[in-house]
């Protein structure tokens, strides 16, 4: 547990100082939300109808930003070797790193989403649903992405291949995230059904992602 907290606070401190990418993810999120109306036209009715979809796509893409550095920076400066040979199980350390990454990328995204929801004319219920679905759903994205990050940690041009590896695995999260956000503002499905499945996806991803990423790091020596 102390190892978990040590890694967590180390990664949070690193993300807050120079070179951290938490804020970059937010700016990127804002950029995508800004670009979509340029492509679709400024029709607010249309934008508010597809708003949850835009925000979710933006969240998926923004999660990818910075994911390639999750283990790569540690691989380069050698601290990954220390983590591998540490007495604490590698799974726990990976879990700490991924949680820290989510706290600096996924969580700010979810909390800022009402602000970006204004740009696409979401209703207040829609905004609340956006925050709820993003808080529950983005851990799934981060954990699935962590497997890809661990697999590509030693590759020099890992960013592109990382996206190719993990984007297909993010499809279920995207589907249920958007349908839960849409269900909150109307439609035939009650909000709870897709929302609970989204939570289940995050829990499954937390297990599979942690074990998979740790295995990838162990075999990647």
């Amino acid at each position: 547990m102390s190892a978990f907290l040590a890694i967590l606070s180390r990664d949070l401190a690193l993300a807050n100082r120079i070179g951290g990418s938490g804020w970059l993810g937010l700016v990127f999120f804002l950029l995508i939300v800004t670009l979509v109306p340029f492509a679709l036209g400024p029709d607010l009715n249309l934008l508010s109808r597809i708003g949850p979809a835009i925000l979710w796509i933006a969240a998926v893409l923004a999660t990818l930003i910075g994911l390639d550095r999750l283990f790569q920076a540690d691989e380069e400066d050698g601290s990954l070797d220390l983590l591998r040979s540490a007495p604490a199980p590698l799974e726990v350390l990976v879990l700490a790193k991924v949680v820290a990454h989510w706290l600096t990328t996924g969580l700010p995204l979810a909390l800022a989403s009402p602000l970006f929801g204004l740009l696409v004319a979401l209703s207040p219920e829609g905004m609340a649903a956006m925050v709820a679905t993003l808080i529950v759903g983005t851990p799934a994205l981060t954990f699935v992405g962590a497997v890809g990050a661990a697999l590509t940690a030693t590759l020099r041009r890992g960013g592109l291949i990382l996206a190719i590896l993990v984007l297909p695995l993010m499809v279920p999260t995207l589907i249920f995230g958007v349908s839960a956000a849409n269900a909150a503002t109307g439609g035939t499905v009650p909000f709870a059904t897709p929302f609970l499945i989204l939570a289940a996806l995050s829990l499954v991803a937390a297990v599979v992602g942690t074990l998979g990423a740790a295995a990838a790091l162990r075999f990647g020596e």
């Binding site: 297909p168 897709p194 599979v208």
Partner: protein, 245 residues
């Protein structure tokens, strides 16, 4: 038997002898299957386009068959450290991707006259498309890591994580939209497809499976030879290096 084949030289011997027979058998079954498919009656609703099904459905089966092959081989690589498992894994990926691609192309050719469009965002089509993308990811990872043993371990993990996700993707895409007809051959209450179409379909499925296995064996042999060439090249380079020094 499986461990008997762990020696690559022995595997090359066995597979070299089996390959012509398998290839011949595959060609024969394919011939019979095509003739039967030609003779099958046209569907009362879909007309002659039903014949596309004889290619489409076996290709869809094989696209899953080869992903399972990759997943089992991935276990073989990680758990049992079988020396041929990663060779089998690597050879299976492009073949599976090719069958998935055939499935997508024939499906969209059938969709044009039937649904009026080459592509609809229907659940089954979309999950096959996602499967194709996953094959692309596996092949991309194979190409990115140049040392075979390390690439094999990385791809194994990706394949197994993917295998856990295939049912989830399937389920979520089904939730998302559905237009494709439900499964009509493997059902609890027996197939709903008429025998005059079922038998050619089964023969074609057998033919496709034989073709797939033949290609897989040939691909594994090529991969073993490629690795030998790689080792020889490295040894040669080391020898030249030692001479120069």
């Amino acid at each position: 038997m499986i461990w008997d084949l762990a020696n690559p030289t022995r595997f090359m011997g066995y597979s070299g002898r089996a390959l012509p027979w398998l290839g011949g058998l595959a060609a024969l079954t394919l011939g019979i299957g095509l003739v039967m498919a030609w003779g099958a009656p046209p569907d009362y609703q879909q007309g002659e386009t039903i014949r596309i099904m004889f290619l489409h459905v076996p290709a869809a089966w094989l696209s899953l068959f080869f992903y399972s092959t990759m997943a089992v081989s991935a276990l073989g690589t990680l758990v049992w450290r079988h020396p041929l498992a990663d060779v089998s894994q690597k050879a299976a990926a492009p073949i599976g991707a090719a069958f998935t691609f055939i499935c997508l192309v024939t499906g969209s050719l059938w969709g044009k006259p039937m649904w009026g469009t080459y592509w609809v965002w229907d659940a089954r089509l979309t999950s096959v498309l996602v499967l194709f993308l996953m094959y692309c990811g596996v092949m991309a990872l194979w190409r990115t890591i140049d040392e075979p043993a390390r690439a094999a371990r990385a791809v194994s993990i990706l394949t197994l994580v993917g295998a856990v996700n295939v049912p989830i993707v399937k389920f979520s895409v089904d939730w998302w939209s559905t237009l494709h007809q439900p499964a009509s051959v493997f059902r609890v209450d027996g197939p709903t497809i008429h025998p005059s179409m079922l038998y050619p379909l089964l023969v074609m499925a057998l033919a496709f499976t034989l073709i797939g296995i033949t290609l897989h064996l040939a691909g594994m042999r090529t991969e073993i030879l490629r690795r030998r060439v790689r080792t020889l090249t490295i040894l040669e380079a080391e020898r030249l290096d030692a001479q120069a020094a």
